[in-house]
């Protein structure tokens, strides 16, 4: 029950992007195509799950006063790993994501979950929390990516849906990211109000 709860929490109820409003920079910057959004989600999921696991495993050995620098070192180790893996195996994706790959290290979601959850909970729960939060992050990021790519380039994951000349290019330019997320949040507010 509690394990399911830990996994479930991050997906909708505490969705990091649309509810807690953290980790916004990569969401807006790399969501101009569904594929970039998926790549970023996978990288964040890897770093978040692994760092939650390691931090939960060593949480009893870490002195309270220097826990933040230790967390940062652990997180930056996993960020460097994913940075080099992407550079080696998916060079095009790496070029598209650019500086946002190393910037995962300052993504508030990861340090936030380390501090708020992994540091206080056993390994299994923390790993599940990492997976759940990554799913919530990925869900928000990929849906924004799909919406923007569909409206802005007339395709989804590179598959053409309609003539790109009829698409609103503004949606894949920077303002489109702000517009999409504004309408998504307003829609979510309305939905929530209806449920209550």
């Amino acid at each position: 029950m509690s394990l399911w709860h830990d996994l479930n929490q991050g997906i909708i109820k505490e969705n990091p992007v649309l509810r807690l409003m953290i980790g916004l920079c990569p969401v807006l910057a790399v969501s101009n195509s569904a594929l970039n959004a998926l790549g970023m989600s996978v990288a964040v999921a890897f770093v978040l799950t692994c760092s939650n696991l390691v931090i939960a495993a060593i949480r009893k050995l870490v002195p309270d006063q220097i826990r933040i620098p230790i967390f940062i070192i652990i997180i930056s180790t996993f960020v460097t790993i994913s940075d080099y893996i992407m550079q080696a195996f998916t060079p095009e994706l790496y070029a598209a994501l650019g500086v946002f790959v190393p910037l995962i290290v300052v993504n508030c979601i990861i340090l936030g979950r380390a501090e708020a959850f992994a540091y206080r909970n056993p390994v299994l729960n923390s790993t599940l929390d990492g997976i759940g939060m990554s799913l919530g992050f990925g869900l928000a990021l990929v849906s924004i990516g799909v919406i923007r790519e569909m409206l802005g380039a007339g395709s989804v994951f590179g598959l053409t849906l309609f003539n790109p000349a009829a698409a609103a290019t503004i949606m894949i330019l920077p303002p489109g990211a702000f517009i999409t997320i504004a309408f998504l949040m307003a829609g979510l507010n309305k939905l929530e109000n209806k449920v209550q």
């Binding site: 500086v99 330019l173 702000f178 504004a182 309408f183």
Partner: protein
């Protein structure tokens, strides 16, 4: 001329907040009042200039000669975190009125991704030291410009009748979209 181009590209054309989407948490977080956005802007200008100088030197004089480039993520973030602490201590002791003005914004800067991003970008673009300095001044100036303008608009918006579902963050995002559209208009200026 080349330095001038770097400055304007960083200041307006590739504005760090509205076009590149870096440091958005602080953009929405501290822009509800003009005072707080002014304090944050000063702190960012101050810290970004110093930390990009230090991280540039750390990369080119320590990491690169020993082929330790893969450590840059860890080294940069630790350098910046400790530098912020050091600057806080120094300001508190030597320039107390400046410290009072920046106050609580200094520790917040450690998690401001713009600082780290500028350190990385200056390496990725293979800037020389003077280019990196001009670049970081341009970026922090652009950050201040965008966040102060945004704070003025948000203060005005307090009085505006906003549809119920759009109150709070959604309308702030729409405002940012319009500002971003305006900044997009700078593309192509000075042949950049």
């Amino acid at each position: 001329m080349e330095l001038f181009g770097i400055f304007f590209a960083a200041f307006l054309i590739n504005n760090i907040l509205l076009i590149r989407f870096i440091a958005l948490c602080s953009f929405f977080g501290v822009s509800t009042k003009i005072d707080t956005s002014l304090g944050m802007s000063f702190a960012v200008i101050f810290v970004m200039t110093i930390s990009s100088a230090v991280s540039w030197a750390a990369y080119h004089f320590i990491l690169a000669p020993f082929h330790l480039e893969f450590l840059r993520t860890a080294v940069f973030i630790l350098t910046i975190a400790s530098l912020v602490q050091l600057e806080e201590l120094y300001l508190k002791k030597m320039i107390p009125h400046l410290y009072r003005a920046m106050g609580i914004y200094l520790p917040l800067i450690t998690t401001n991704c713009a600082i780290l991003a500028v350190a990385f970008l200056a390496i990725d673009y293979r800037f020389t030291f003077s280019q990196a300095m001009v670049y970081s001044i341009g970026v922090s100036g652009g950050y201040s410009l965008a966040i102060i303008l945004f704070a003025y608009i948000r203060e005005r918006m307090m009085l505006a009748p906003i549809p119920k579902w759009f109150q709070g963050y959604p309308i702030a995002f729409l405002t940012a979209a319009l500002m971003s559209l305006a900044f997009l208009g700078f593309t192509g200026m000075f042949g950049l």
